[in-house]
Every structure is written in C-alpha cells, then in structure tokens.
Subunit: 246 residues, 2 copies
C-alpha cells in the first residue's frame, strides 16, 4: 500500500504513545525520522528498516519517505511530541502536493501528546487557561516576528509555552524573550521549565519570571510562563481555570 | 492507596488514549468525570464504580474524587482531550491544597491529546507554526479578556485554535470572534473546523475566514484559524513550517 503515516510519538516514553500511533507503526514497512526520535521507538520494532538522516535534513528525509511510499510501501514518519506542532505533517503535505508522482499516496496524520501539555503535567497544571505556543528558533522564522508574537501574547496575559528556548548558537534567546515578557508581566509571575519530558533524566523547576531570565537551559527543555493568576501550590505550577472554591 | 490521577483521554476513540492513561485507569478503584466522558471509557472497565455528576458541577465532582481518595482509594478523574487544557488538573490541585485532610493524597497528572492537535490532524496540518489556544466560553472568563486575547494573537498572525466556539446561550460568539480576527487577517485566510473529533459522526470543513463567520457550529466543534501562509493542499488545511522545497 502506498501510504505515509506522520506520527506524533509523544514526549519520549513508549507509554506516552497512543494506540493509534502503535498501530500505524505496526502496519509500516519502514520507519523514518531523525535518529534521536527513531531510537525512542526502534527497540519496539527492531525488524523494521529505518530511513534516517541527520538533523536539519527534514526536507530530504520527508522526500525519501514519500519516494519509498511511492514504491508501494507504508512508511511511518515519526515526530517527537505531536506530528503537527513544529513537526513533519505540513512538510509531508507540501512535498506530496509538489510532485504528481506522489498523488496516489495516502497521507494520514496521527497526533500525539505535545510538550506543551506533557510538560504542563510534570509542572502541575501550568496551562489550564488560554495559552500560546511560541518557538524561539529563528532558523525558519524571522526573529522580528518571534519578538512581535511575544509582545502580543504577553500584553494579553496569555500563559506561554516556549519551545526551542535555546541552542548552542542561540544561548541568549530565552533571556531576550524574558526581557520582552517582563515589559508586560510582573517579575514574580510563576514560571517553570521541564527538561527531557518523559525520558531518562527528566527534571523540572518552578521559579519566577525574574529567575527564569538567568536560567541556562538547552534544546531539550520546554519553558512555561504563567498568567497573572498562576500560583505555586505545594511546589506545583498551577494556573486556575477560574472555578469558585468554597 | 490515596491517589488521584487526572487523566486526559484524548479526543474520544479509545485508541487515542496513551498507555499511561490506560494503566492509570486500570490501577483505579473509582472513575470520576462528566457523564459524556465517562461513557467513552466505561465500556473498557465495566466493573469499576463511577463517581459522576452533571455538567457545570466540576468543583463538586472533583471534591468528591478527593474525598473518595482520602478514604484510601485510587481515583481517576477523566477529562476529554488533555487533563490540563481547560481540564480538571488545576481544580484538583486547588481543592487539594485547600483542605489539609487531603495533604497525604498523591496527585498525578496524565496528559492526553488535546483538540488543538487532534483536530489539526483531521484538517491536515493546521497548526504547524506558532499558535494560540483560546476558549470563547465566558462562564469563567470575562468576555472583555477573551476579546483582548483575540485582538492580540490576530495582530501577530498566530494560528488560532478556538475551543468552545458556541453553545445554545452563546450562539453568536464565533461571529463576534471572527469580526475581531477580520480586523487583522484577510477574509481569504484559510480556516477549518472539526466536529466530534475521533468520535462517531466526525466531520470537518476547510473554508475561508469570511465563510467561517457565518458557520453554525456547536459545543462539540473546534475551530482553526490559519496564519497568512496557511494554504489548501488537495483539500487539506496546511500551515507551512517554513522549510524550503525544491
């Protein structure tokens, strides 16, 4: 069958995968993805051949997945977290629409648990009200637009989940983001970060926005900014939904 | 064991649940939740007693879950989608911190696939760039704040996932929201909605922002607004991540 599944495998541990994701992997002839993510599922399906390329070769990897599917195969493209949120779903659709040889390939997107929700659960209930998801990676997005978006959501007191808060090349981006957010939110605003969600070495910290500004994080971290009502309850970051409590 | 799991069961179909969610349900002595959601999992665990109350009795229901747990039980509080996003996780933490009788109850939040990502997958890849999640329900949030948030995220060209777009009492809220969004985004902006995600009767439509304004939806629908780059590819709503395609 000519088919590409684009699968969100969740934050890491196999138990965070949905049954749909597992079923799709089982039906697949090939597994395709960035090596770090393939390693998270490879042990479940050691017999399945892997289509893998290095980091930042997303377009080549997805092209290879579609070409393999066009040769009458079922291919699972796997993404960490959800398959849509900064994942490969849109790229697969774009490459598919771009080449008429691929038009008879069936595409199915299988969603997964994204870091905004899995990280929020580690911290407590960080995002239980309106929230925005913003990536600080400027590889594909102009930094000016990222700044504009941070201004916008901070000014309307959204909770914010920040993906890709830093990397080796972008080690001051989180600080820059906090400087913008601090124009609108108080320095005592409750924040948190989670590293290696659902994987070995998972760790988290609940802290203030003022403290967050000076944290040294890495690309495996997700950052959470509270709204004005977010509080710390027994060490957990909790954003109330607004229910009255007697 | 005195324990409360707060579980996101995903959009509906059992196969959208994670293995962690199933494990937690299996470990539980009681299942607690709004009847509509309990019905989605009850058939899996027919022998487990159910703690249920009607709609809009969230605080009473969660209080009952904690009281039952304090009598040396494990209780699963189930939420549709994710347990944090407009779910019960924050309310459980608030009630837990509010009553010293509950202090020895262990709380564990199990995240699930939220409608923003599961609905995006049905439509194609609706949210593959920065996005905001906004609920139009003004039961717990002043409408003025909802409007302010819609202005903010529209002005910075976020993709937007709208939860609770309407109900019987609020049948013009989606129209009001579209009027605000149309101040910033073009009438041709690609949008979509999904009804009954992952359940019997799932349906979706990809349409323009101008058309969305006049759609009659219900509380089982989730609405997706694209950014300026969102396009329709073979009937699917696709927001590019920004990769260069040859």
């Amino acid at each position: 069958m000519k088919k590409v599944f684009v699968i969100g495998i969740g934050p890491g541990d196999e138990k965070n995968m949905t049954a749909f994701a597992k079923e799709a992997l089982e039906k697949s002839d090939y597994i395709c993805g960035y090596t770090v993510y393939v390693d998270l599922v490879k042990s479940l399906y050691p017999q399945k051949p892997v289509i893998s390329t290095g980091m930042r070769q997303e377009a080549q990897r997805c092209e290879l997945a579609l070409r393999t599917a066009s040769e009458n195969n079922t291919v699972s493209v796997i993404c960490s977290g959800d398959s849509g949120v900064y994942g490969m779903a849109s790229l697969i659709y774009e490459l598919w629409a771009n080449n008429s040889n691929y038009s008879d390939i069936e595409i199915e997107i299988v969603s997964g648990v994204t870091a905004a929700t899995s990280g929020s659960a580690v911290l407590g209930a960080a995002l239980s009200h309106d929230f925005a998801v913003v990536s600080l990676s400027d590889l594909l997005t102009p930094w000016e637009l990222i700044e504009k978006r941070l201004h916008a959501v901070s000014s309307a007191d959204f909770c914010i989940a920040i993906y890709n808060p830093c990397s080796k090349k972008r080690n001051d981006y989180l600080q820059k983001a906090c400087d913008i957010i601090l124009k609108y939110k108080k320095t005592e605003t409750v924040c948190g970060w989670v590293r290696n969600i659902g994987r070995d070495g998972e760790e988290y910290r609940v802290l203030t926005l003022g403290e967050l500004k000076d944290e040294k994080l890495d690309m495996f971290s997700t950052v959470f900014i509270g709204n004005e009502y977010t509080k710390i309850l027994n060490g957990k970051m909790v954003t109330p939904r607004g229910y009255k409590i007697n």
